[in-house]
């Protein structure tokens, strides 16, 4: 058997790639902002803040992403709330990744040394100032490795949005596959698209990690 890739698939797959990148970027950004707020609520918030944050996180981590997506896209209309496919996808994936990111941020915030907060407060900084100028700059550096994982998972996980008719890489490939009755070749190409995206993102994040490294900290054993 021969590999029957057709160049005419490329424009479709390229537009799918763009959709995948857009959906992922939007969701991860929402998740980043919301995730930090949730983590802060859990670490520094009093009960009226920390309990709802915890419930939110447990719900979105404890139920399948697919169920969340279908609930938003097919479930909400039954309550009279109809939103577009793209908005449903962004909402479901964004809230889902927010829950995961919140836990990564919480871990990072809690691994900043205790004395850092004491020193900030003893200078007269308020709690929000201490968080902004002292805790977060360090926590965000610490979180990069774990956070890279979440970004990669989201890139690939976003492929489920084809279920709600969005033409991302997966959606476009499925269409092409159905049209040409050629599943093997199309899905192999789709897989390669995802792989390329993930590799690029990994490289970028490794570069980011290198650039924001604090000089003198985290000395490793030198290679001989």
């Amino acid at each position: 058997m021969t590999f029957l890739f057709k160049w005419e698939w490329l424009p479709k797959l390229a537009s799918g790639l763009l959709v995948t990148v857009e959906v992922t970027a939007t969701c991860v950004t929402i998740g980043f902002v919301l995730g930090i707020l949730l983590a802060l609520a859990r670490v520094y918030g009093r009960k009226p803040l920390s309990i709802p944050a915890n419930i939110f996180i447990q719900f979105f981590r404890g139920t399948p992403l697919l169920v969340q997506l279908l609930l938003v896209y097919y479930g909400l209309p039954q309550l009279g709330i109809t939103i577009s496919a793209v908005l449903s996808a962004i909402l479901a994936l964004g809230l889902n990744t927010a829950a995961y990111q919140a836990e990564y941020f919480r871990g990072a915030i809690q691994s900043v040394k205790k004395g850092q907060m004491l020193a900030a407060r003893s200078l007269g900084m308020s709690l929000p100032q201490s968080i902004r100028y002292v805790i977060l700059p360090q926590a965000l550096r610490l979180v990069i490795p774990a956070w890279s994982n979440e970004l990669i998972l989201m890139l690939k996980g976003s492929s489920i949005v084809y279920i709600v008719t969005i033409l991302d890489i997966m959606g476009e490939s499925k269409r092409i596959a159905n049209k040409y009755f050629n599943y093997l070749d199309v899905y192999v190409v789709a897989a390669l698209f995802y792989l390329a995206l993930v590799l690029i993102v990994s490289l970028l994040l490794r570069e980011l990690e290198r650039r924001v490294r604090i000089p003198g900290l985290g000395l490793s054993i030198e290679r001989r």
Partner: protein, 252 residues
Amino acid sequence: MSTPLLKVLDIHKRYGSEEVLRGVSFDVERGETKVFIGPSGTGKSTLLRCVNQLTPPDKGQVFLEGAEVTHHKADINRLRASMGFVFQDFNLFAHLTAMQNVGIGPMTVNGMHKQRAQARALAELERVGLGEKSNAYPAQLSGGQQQRVSIARALAMDPKLILFDEPTSALDPELIGEVLEVMIELAREGMTMLCVTHEMGFARSVANEIIFMEHGVIVEQGPPQQMFTNAKHPRTGEFLRKISELYGETNQ
């Protein structure tokens, strides 16, 4: 009689079943250096933290220039800004250079403009002999240098007094001198200082008063000369002899 710079009244603090502080009171006048000594676990560090409310006391009051620090409506951030705190383990901000560490307080708390804060930071670093290290990160500095940066960080806030919590206890013996030199210089310039330290050489040369604490209370207090040669309480004399043997009379 004018109000003392700092008035500490009947401070109590309990951790679980252990009563760490059991009613501690003292006054501090402007320009005075007080040294707190005593066995570990007698609440000296807790007492310092009660003064600037990093640890709120269970009972008792603290007044800074007559303003009640312990009042529940006190603007605690503003009051803390006027009381420097130097930690045993430095606690420099790990992600900031020496200059940024010193400048961040004036910038964020006092709203000082960046350029002015940098100039101020550099001046304070020079004051502690670290002008050439202004762009180094804490992890690139020795313990003694880090502690001097942290003193500069406190000075940049124009504090009315500085609280030193065992500032040399985490240092290699040969780095202690450089930190004590800075502290002695500060005391001579008239900075008001409360120091928990076992450096008796320092206490002898600049302290106006030594306060001996044990089991959460002040056992005895007095000028160094009197405490060293003529302690009224037998425990004081015993402790001072032991500690002088142990720590020697480093730095004069």
